[in-house]
Structures are given as structure tokens and as C-alpha cells.
């Protein structure tokens, strides 16, 4: 995680320096704003990684770990099937086309998306409680 953090910080620094040079050579606000926004996003991600690193110790970050030491390490909960992603995607597509074809489609899409989100949350809760 330290490497990832370093990559993000280096990228943020690059964006700040480039944004600075760009502003003082061009005085063009749109590009400067975009470069500095990029720097802010990368710096935010780097800070999050730094916080995560303090809370988490991963065997994948240890150069000399032996496989038996990592035996039984719980790495996560993985859904093998779920009907809700396709429902959510379909609802988003239907809702978006409502901008052109009628606001009622947008309402139908929003309803479908809300239902899919509820379904996803319930599915997740059931899995974690089982």
C-alpha cells in the first residue's frame, strides 16, 4: 500500500507543478482548473491510502511472507450471482432516455433503480448475517 500511496502522491505533485507552470505561462483558467482538480483528487486518494495503511496489514505487502502464514486469511465476501446489477443498469438506461422520450420514462427508471438498490442492500445484509 505504501507503493500505491507513493504513486498517487507523485502523480498529485506532478499535476500541481504542471498546473502551476501552465497557469503562469498561459493564464488560461479552464485547463488550470482541470489540472489542479486532478491534483486534488489524487492527493485525496493518497491520503485515504495513508489512513488505510495505518489500519490494515496485508500479507500481500510483505516481501518474505510464507504461504502457510496466510492460510485461512478471510479476504472477503464474493457474490456469485445477483439479479440486481442488470435491473439497476436497465433502469438507469430507461431513466436516462426519458430526457428525450418523456419524463414518465425517467420516473419508471428511478423507480426501478430504487428497487434494485434496495434489492442489493438486502442481498448484502443477508449474506453478511449468514
Amino acid at each position: 500500500m505504501k507503493t500505491t500511496e507513493g504513486v498517487l502522491l507523485a502523480s498529485a505533485s506532478f499535476s500541481i507543478v504542471t498546473g502551476g507552470i501552465y497557469w503562469f505561462t498561459s493564464y488560461e483558467p479552464a485547463g488550470t482548473f482541470m489540472l489542479l482538480t486532478m491534483a486534488a483528487g489524487l492527493a485525496f486518494a493518497a491520503c485515504y491510502m495513508a489512513l488505510l495503511r495505518r489500519r490494515t496489514a496485508l500479507s500481500s505487502d510483505r516481501r518474505d511472507v510464507h504461504m502457510p502464514e496466510a492460510q485461512g486469511e478471510a479476504v472477503g465476501v464474493f457474490a456469485s450471482h445477483s439479479p440486481w446489477p442488470v435491473v439497476l443498469a436497465l433502469s438507469c438506461a430507461v431513466g436516462l432516455t426519458g430526457i428525450v422520450y418523456g419524463w414518465w420514462l425517467m420516473a419508471a427508471g428511478a423507480l426501478g433503480a430504487a428497487g434494485a438498490c434496495v434489492g442489493l442492500m438486502r442481498e448484502d445484509r443477508e449474506a453478511r448475517s449468514s
Binding site: E28, L42, S59, A70, Q71, E73, A74, G76, H81
Partner: protein
Amino acid sequence: MTATTALPAPRSHVGLLGWLTTTNHKHIGILYMVTTLVFFGFAGAFAAVIRADLMTPNHPLVDRQMYAELFTLHGTAMIFLVIAPFALGIANYMLPLQIGAPDMAYPRLNALSYWLFLLGGLVILSGLLTRDGAAAAGWFAYAPLSTTGSQGNGMDLWAMGLLLASASSIMTAINLIATTVLYRAPGMIMWRLPIFCWDMIVTSLLILMAFPPLATTLALILIDRNLGGHIFDPSHGGSAVVYQHLFWFFGHPEVYIMVLPYFGIITEILPVFSRKPVFGYVGMVLSTLAIAGLSMAVWAHHMFATGAVLNPFFSAMSLLIAVPTGIKYINWIGTMWKGAIVLPTAMLFAIGFLLNFLLGGASGVMVASPPIDYWAEDTYFIVAHMHYVLGGGSMFAAIAAVFYWFPKITGVMLRETWGRLQFWLMFIGFNATFWPMHLLGLAGMQRRIYTYPPLPGWGLLNLIATLGADLLGVGVLLFLWNVWVSLRHPVPAGPDPWGGFTLEWATTSPPPEFNFTALPQIRSNRPVFDLRHPLADGPARQSAAEAP
């Protein structure tokens, strides 16, 4: 081995319902790849009509409007629905395997990403079914052509479809980063990651930086078109130049989003078939980061001709990209140098990539210089340049990836004889199609014209380009035939038909649901090589040791 827990399956797991509800990264990877192949069929058919239309002077097959729709949909499909998503499909399948993970970090988000991508593509293409036709403002849809200049719903559907596809890409990028950061196998420190995984992380970061501006731009187009906005309308105080800034702030990184994953694929293939570790692992990673960083600061080289940007800044930044790209070439050549090279189809396409991309890169350096760009802007020279980068580069690497990983995904080998024939057809066809376009561009032939006068040389060069495109088409059909025959009459591949180095070759072909029953000890970036040669010293150890 690490433990995993599977959520209880809702109902059936087989047949159509199984594919509709799957959240397994391998199934989703296959869905991505098959879907991009179908979209490639559409894009290829549009290109075939374009080339037929331009085969002879003053003899158009389609009218101006239809031609504009065809080149818009061809470009849109190839860029947004084929080249970039195919790489995401490969990454979906291979990245968890290469890092020793049981699945992607967020399987349901992964499924959502795929369905948004599919529906986005269908929404874009559905413009063809509308009364006024599909979008016809080119793949970069400059305002005000895409706002006040386009009638009908085709343009709206284009923007909506791309919004859905953008959301899909952003979600996939988040998933790939989270998977790589959190789900690597024990001992797989970042500096032991396969280069393909590094390139996918960097590509994902680029997606996270570049796609939000695109999504914003698309939303603003929709506001201008449907809600009375005048954001890009100069006659009401808006700015068309701001559109170009926003679009290209996405658009140039997008080129590298379409290229970096394929750099990674090539870097996987060359060492395996040269029987050597990759030369300069750290240099490869750092050059990828440098290319990505610089690619975020070159957007306005697409705007030299507007006179509204600081040309020297963008020219210098664009020229600088040649340095890390050159480092990659040195490393690729170094990897092959004095290797025990074998030449299966995957390696042939990888070498084809090196040659084609070199030409695309060289013409890229040329047009990074404003005086040359002024001459070449909006001519067929630019068409040739981008096709050498994305067609001869990325597409050749994509085919190399298919030949390399098809045995892992399906458990059967593709026919090498058909593959080699396909390579030569496509290599000759590709260069016959796009090399003449350099000459046409320098002679002044504009892009996006549906017919042209019989000026000296233009007819012959266009005829050669069309015949070359026919050869390319035959090559693609041969590939489909190869896949069909190989699946109908399978030749079993076994777990590791190539003598691969990375973790995907340590499991069965195809892999089980959660990928591995056991993982080897990871001591370098070539764990499977280390497993096969436990006493080997030298390159593998050196490669691991040189990492920080």
C-alpha cells in the same frame, strides 16, 4: 490459500439466467470480450461502407448525411465500445488471476459496469433506428455541431449512451484499483506485479481522471440540446472553445487508456516467447507512470489550429511523451535480445504491434509540432496516424492477447496455421489500407469527405486503401473461422501451454470458480517460472532484486 465466502445464489446458475445474473469476474470478462467483438462487427461494417464509398473519385455510394453518420458511429464504436472495453474485459478476466485473487473486489459493481456498458452501446447504435438518423457530428462531437447543429434524437442518444458507458468505465476502474491494492496474493508486493497489472492500475487512474470531464461534457450537451442551455453557444455568451478543452482533457488521456493496457499485454507476451524475463521491470513501470502523467497535460495539442491555446507548452509536453515510450521500446527490444525466440501467432501479432505502433508514434511526434499540425490538421494524415496507433497498435495487441489467453479461457488451443495466415493477411492489409492515407493527407485530402475529385494519385491511393481494407476483413473472418473450428474440434490446452511466467498459468484451463485451489510461493514477478525451476538463479532473482 486465502479463504473466500460466496453469497448464496438466488436461483438458477445455468443458461441465459446464469449469464444475466453472473457476478463472476471470468464470466463478466467473457461477456465484455464477446460484446466488444459484436460492436467491432458493427464498426467494421461501417468502415467497409466508408472504404467502398471512397474507392473511386466522384462515385459516392452514400449521401453526405449517411456518410457523416457512418464515420461518427465507426469512430465512436471503435473508441468507446471496442478498443478500451476489450482491454477492460481482458483485465476483468486476467487481473484477478495474475494477482492470485479469487474475484474482483466488488463483483456486483463489476456486473453493473458490464450491463451499463452494453446498454450504453445499444443506446448509441439505436440512433440508426430514429427518423432523423444517428449522431453525425464525429466521434468528438464538437459544439455547436453537436448542440444547435444536429437535429433529431440521434445525437441525444449518442450522448446518453456515452454517459452510461462512462459510468461503466469509472466503476470498472475503481474495481480494478481496489482489487489490485487489496486482493493480491500473499507475498505479491506491488513490485512483483505483472506489468499488465501495473498498466491496468495506471489506466484505471487515467480513467478516474479523464472520464468525469467527459461525463460532465455529455451532460452539458444534453442540457444545451434539451433544457435550453447555451453553455457552448457563443451567440448567447457560451464558449465552443471550452467544449474543446473539456472534451480533449478527456480525449487525449483516452488515447492512452486505449494503449497502455495493450503495452501491458505485449510486455506479458514478449518475455514468454523470448524465454527471458522482462528487461528493465522498474523502467517499464516508471515509463508507464510517466506516459500517463504527461498524457494528462497534452490535451490542447488537438487545438493548435484554434489559436486559443499556448502551443509551445502543449507541443513540448507532447514531444516529451516520446521519451518514456522510447524507454519501453528499448526494454521490449532488450527483452527479445538474444532470447530463444519462438514465433507462435501471439508473438507474431506482438511484433506486428511493435512495428505498427512505431510508425504511429513517429507520425505522432510529427504532428506534435504546430507547423506540421497546421498542414496536417483534419487531413487523412491524421486518420493514418490514429489508425496506426489504435489499429496497428492496440488492435494487433488485442489479437495477440486473444491467441495468448484463449487456451486459458476456454481450455482449448486456437489453430496456429490459421492464425499465422491471419497475421500476414492483416499485417499486409493494415499497411495497405493506412499507409496510403499518409500520402493522401500530405497531398491535401481532407478527412470526413464523402467524395473527392479525380486529382492526380488520389484515385489509385484510395483504391489501394480499399483493397487493403478488404484483406483486413478477410483476416477477421479467418479469425472467426479459427475460433469456430477450434471450439468445435477442441485440442486441449492444459494448464500452461506456453510455459508462462505469471500466476494465471498456475491454475487449470479454464480456472475454477474462485480461481485457485492452491497458490505457489511468490518470490519474484515470475512465480510460475520459479515454481517450475525452483533451483534457477539469475534472471528471475535479478528481476526481483532490482525492484525497490
